[in-house]
C-alpha cells in the first residue's frame, strides 16, 4: 500500500525523533556536569523501566522482582572486573546480559507457573532470594559493603570515557539501541500476541497460541534488558552492593513505569525522567524527596491513572494533535 510522504504517522515519528535528539543530545552539551550525571541516570533507569514495562504494559504482568536482573547484571560486571581482574568492557557487558537472561529463564519458569496476585508475590519472593544470597556470600560478593573500584569502561578505542559527558553519550548509544529493539519487539507479531494475552488470555489460547511460551519469552527479554541496565549502572556508580537487588529497587522501577504510563511505549522513560528530576531538583532544597515522590504517586493513581505520558497523549488525541480516537470516529 502506498503511503503518503507526510502522513500523520511519519510526521509524529519525526517529531519524536527530533524531540528526542534535542532533549538527549543537544541539551546535555549545555548543562552542568551534575545534570549530565542526572541525565545518565535517567537513560540507565530508562532502559530498566522499559524492560519491566515489557511485562507490565504489554503482557499485563506485575513483577516485583525486576531488581534481581539489575543486580545480576551489576554483580556480573563487578565480579569480572574486581574479583577476576579482567578489564574488558565487551566481555563484561555480554556476560552481564547472559547471566541475567539465564536467571530470567530460571525465575520465569518458577514464577510463571502462577497468575495474578501469586505472580506478584512470587516474583518478589524469588528476587528476595537472590538478594539474600548477596550479603552473606562475603568472600565473593563483598558482603553488605559490596564491591568497589569499578572504573569507567575502556573500549580499546582512542576514545576516553572518563569525562561524564563522554560516558553519557556512551550510555545514550546503549539506550537508543535498547529502546529501538524493544520498540520493534512490541510492534512485532510477538508484541501483538502479548497484548492479546494481556486483554484476554483464554481467547488467545483458544486461538491456538501457546500463551505460556509467549509470556516466558517476554519475561526473559525483560530480564536481559534489566541486566544490561544494571551493568551500565555499575559503570556509572563505580560500585555494586546488595541494594541493587533489593525490593525497594524493584518497587522504584515499577513506579517509574507506572508514573510515566505503561500503555505508551516511551512512558517508562518519562517516568524515569520525572523521578530523577524531582530527586535531583528537590533534594537540594529539602530532605523530603521520598515524601514528594509518594504524593506524586498517589496523585498519578487518583487523577491520571494512565500515567503522565498516557495522560498527555490522551489530551493530544482529544484535540487532534495526535491520531487516535478521531480516526475511529470518522470511521464510524
Amino acid at each position: 500500500m502506498h503511503r503518503e510522504l507526510l502522513s500523520g504517522a511519519r510526521v509524529r515519528c519525526a517529531a519524536y525523533v527530533v524531540g528526542g535528539v534535542v532533549v538527549f543530545v543537544v541539551v546535555p552539551q549545555f548543562i552542568s556536569s551534575y545534570y549530565v550525571f542526572v541525565f545518565t541516570e535517567i537513560l540507565i533507569y530508562g532502559i530498566f523501566a522499559l524492560s519491566v514495562n515489557m511485562l507490565l504494559g504489554y503482557a499485563g504482568l506485575i513483577s516485583l522482582g525486576q531488581a534481581a536482573f539489575w543486580g545480576a547484571g551489576g554483580y556480573t560486571v563487578a565480579l569480572i572486573t574486581v574479583q577476576a581482574g579482567v578489564d574488558s568492557f565487551w566481555l563484561c557487558i555480554c556476560a552481564a546480559v547472559v547471566v541475567a537472561t539465564v536467571l530470567g529463564g530460571i525465575l520465569g519458569a518458577l514464577a510463571l507457573r502462577t497468575k495474578g496476585v501469586y505472580f506478584i508475590l512470587l516474583t518478589l519472593a524469588l528476587a528476595q532470594m537472590v538478594w539474600a544470597l548477596l550479603s552473606p556470600w562475603r568472600s565473593i560478593t563483598g558482603g553488605t559493603e559490596g564491591l568497589y573500584g569499578i572504573a569507567r569502561p575502556d573500549l580499546g578505542l582512542p576514545l576516553s570515557l572518563s569525562s561524564s559527558l563522554s560516558f553519557y553519550f556512551f550510555v545514550l548509544v546503549f539506550f537508543a539501541v535498547s529502546a529501538f529493539v524493544l520498540y520493534r519487539v512490541t510492534r512485532s507479531p510477538f508484541g501483538r500476541v502479548l497484548v492479546g494475552i494481556r486483554e484476554n488470555e483464554q481467547r488467545m489460547r483458544a486461538l491456538g497460541y501457546s500463551t505460556w511460551r509467549y509470556l516466558y519469552v517476554c519475561f526473559i527479554v525483560a530480564a536481559a534488558f534489566g541486566g544490561l541496565a544494571g551493568a551500565l549502572k555499575v559503570y556509572q556508580d563505580g560500585f555494586v552492593n546488595p541494594a541493587y537487588a533489593s525490593l525497594s529497587t524493584s518497587a522504584l522501577v515499577l513506579l517509574m513505569a507506572m508514573i510515566g504510563g505503561t500503555r505508551v511505549f516511551g512512558g517508562p522513560v518519562v517516568g524515569a525522567g520525572v523521578v530523577w528530576i524531582i530527586r535531583s531538583v528537590v533534594s537540594s532544597y529539602t530532605v523530603y524527596w521520598n515524601l514528594l515522590l509518594g504524593v506524586l504517586m498517589v496523585a498519578v493513581v487518583m487523577f491520571a491513572p494512565a500515567g503522565i505520558a498516557g495522560y498527555l497523549t490522551g489530551i493530544g488525541k482529544r484535540y487532534g494533535i495526535l491520531e487516535g480516537r478521531r480516526r475511529l470516529q470518522t470511521l464510524r
Binding site: Y118, M129, A132, M258, N290, L291
Partner: protein
C-alpha cells in the same frame, strides 16, 4: 547449658518468631486473601504501629495504652487509605502504585518524627521476667504470651471468616462484588470495615513485635518481604496455610541462624523456593 536445652530454646524461639510472622501476615490474609487487595504498605503500617506504640509507652509508661494507640493510629490510617483512595481503584496495578506511594510517604514522615534510631518497647510488668519450664530451662514470659495471643488471633480470624455472616459476605464480595451488592448488601462499607480491621491487626503486630524486630526505619521493606514470603509459602487465601507457613519460616530462620548464621536469610527464601517448586500455590491452596 546442655545441648538439648539449647536446641529446645532455638525451637521455641522459632515458634515465637513464627507466631509473630503470623500476626504480621494476619492482616494480609484479610486484605490479600479475603478481599484480593494488594497492599504493599502493610510493612509500613506495621512499622508505624511500632513507632506510635513506643512513643506512647515512653510518655505514659503504660503498655496497654501503647497497644491501643498503635492499633488506633494504624487502624485510622487504614480507614483513610481505603475510604478515600483504594475504594476508587479498579485494578491491581493501581493498588500497587498507590500503596507503594504510601510506603514512601510513611517512611519519610516516620524518619522526620522518630529519627533513624531503632526503638524497642519494654514488656508490661506482669509479662516481664522469665518462667521456668522443666528443671534448668527458662523462657521469657512475654514470648510465651505472644505465642498464646497469636493463637487467639488465629482462632478469632478463623471464626470471623468461616463462621460469621460478615465473613461470608467478605469472601463472597472478593469473588463477585456486584453480585453481593445486588443482594442488597453494602459491600463498600463491609470492605472499608474489614480493611480497617486488617490495618488494626498490622498496628497491633507492630506494637507487640517491637521486642523481636526493634522499630526502625528499614522495617517497612524488611517486614513486607517476610510477610509476603509467609503468604506465598502458606497459600495466600488460606488462613491455616499462612499459620503453617509462618511456623515453617520462623523455625527455618531461627534454626538457620543458630547453625549457619550467614545463610539464615537465604535459607528462608530457599525453603520458600522448595515449597513453591512442589506446590506453586502454597502449602494449602484454596480456590477463591
Amino acid at each position: 547449658m546442655p545441648q538439648a536445652d539449647q536446641l529446645a530454646l532455638v525451637l521455641l524461639n522459632g515458634v515465637t518468631f513464627g507466631m509473630l510472622l503470623f500476626l504480621l501476615a494476619a492482616g494480609l490474609v484479610l486484605m490479600l486473601g479475603a478481599m484480593n487487595i494488594v497492599n504493599l504498605a502493610h510493612g509500613s503500617f506495621y512499622m508505624l504501629g511500632g513507632f506510635v506504640g513506643v512513643a506512647v509507652a515512653a510518655k505514659t509508661g503504660n503498655f496497654a495504652l501503647a497497644v491501643l494507640a498503635g492499633m488506633g493510629a494504624v487502624g485510622f490510617l487504614g480507614l483513610v487509605v481505603e475510604r478515600f483512595f483504594l475504594r476508587y481503584l479498579r485494578d491491581q496495578m493501581a493498588q500497587v502504585l498507590l500503596t507503594l506511594g504510601f510506603v514512601y510517604i510513611i517512611s519519610d514522615l516516620a524518619r522526620t518524627v522518630w529519627g533513624s534510631d531503632p526503638l524497642s518497647l519494654a514488656p508490661p510488668s506482669f509479662l516481664a521476667g522469665q518462667i521456668g519450664i522443666g528443671d534448668s530451662f527458662e523462657y521469657p514470659v512475654y514470648r510465651l504470651a505472644l505465642i498464646g495471643f497469636s493463637l487467639l488471633v488465629w482462632v478469632g480470624l478463623w471464626l470471623f471468616l468461616e463462621r460469621t455472616r460478615l465473613g461470608a459476605i467478605v469472601r463472597a464480595g472478593a469473588d463477585d462484588k456486584e453480585m453481593v451488592a445486588g443482594l442488597g448488601i453494602n459491600i463498600k462499607v463491609v470492605f472499608t470495615a474489614v480493611f480497617t480491621l486488617a490495618a488494626l491487626l498490622a498496628g497491633l503486630a507492630g506494637v507487640v513485635g517491637t521486642r523481636v524486630f526493634t522499630a526502625s526505619l528499614t522495617l517497612d521493606w524488611q517486614v513486607l518481604g517476610l510477610a509476603l514470603v509467609v503468604m506465598v509459602v502458606g497459600g495466600v487465601r488460606s488462613l491455616h496455610g499462612v499459620l503453617l507457613g509462618s511456623l515453617l519460616i520462623g523455625l527455618v530462620d531461627r534454626i538457620g541462624t543458630f547453625f549457619v548464621p550467614e545463610l539464615a536469610m537465604f535459607l528462608i527464601f530457599g525453603a520458600m523456593a522448595l515449597v513453591l517448586v512442589l506446590r506453586p500455590y502454597g502449602i494449602i491452596r484454596e480456590h477463591a
